[in-house]
Symmetry: C2
Subunit: 105 residues, 2 copies
């Protein structure tokens, strides 16, 4: 009468290997790690200009790193007029953590 589903989609949702790889690559760079860590200080969102202050890189390089993080869905970009702000994607981080937990067996 009742059906028990052992590994529900919710709350952990497993991503495919291609996405897992992409996120791992995005996380595999010191500058990008520094960007992500800024979210602990600047709680909710981070402005592109702030990243420019944070890293000793030219603007195109920073643009490149932010693109990597956005392409991996770790950051969600939001336009605010001429500026651009980023929000940390908690869900994708959770999914990535779930995949790692799954890997543990």
């Amino acid at each position: 009468m009742f059906l028990f589903i052992l590994r529900p989609e919710y709350p952990e949702k497993n991503m495919d290997n291609r996405k897992f790889e992409k996120i791992s690559r995005a996380l595999g760079d010191a500058n990008r790690i520094a960007i992500l860590q800024q979210f602990r200080k600047k709680k909710d969102c981070l402005y592109c200009a702030e990243v420019n202050d944070l890293l000793d890189l030219t603007q195109p390089s920073i643009s490149h790193h932010l693109k990597q993080l956005v392409d991996a869905d770790l950051l969600i970009p939001e336009k605010e007029g001429r500026n651009l702000k980023y929000v940390l994607n908690q869900e994708v981080l959770d999914d990535y953590i779930a995949s790692l937990t799954d890997l543990k067996g």
Copy 2:
């Protein structure tokens, strides 16, 4: 009278950025992800020869990938005579997950 420690060292232990980067890079490759996923099937340990069967790569390439995983401390190598077996390092995975959780804020 009582002292509350907000972020105890135990059970989560935070690694430095260099190590986090190294692990991320090790995880950022399809072949190495496939190797790690084999541990779900072959529960406790994995033999080098088994990895050879798993991946369509030459022996030196597989040796290279296993080295990356060992250098990142994700795999612990154990010699067994002429053979080599690997054990998944649960602790490092836990530390990595803890760092990611920390990143979430």
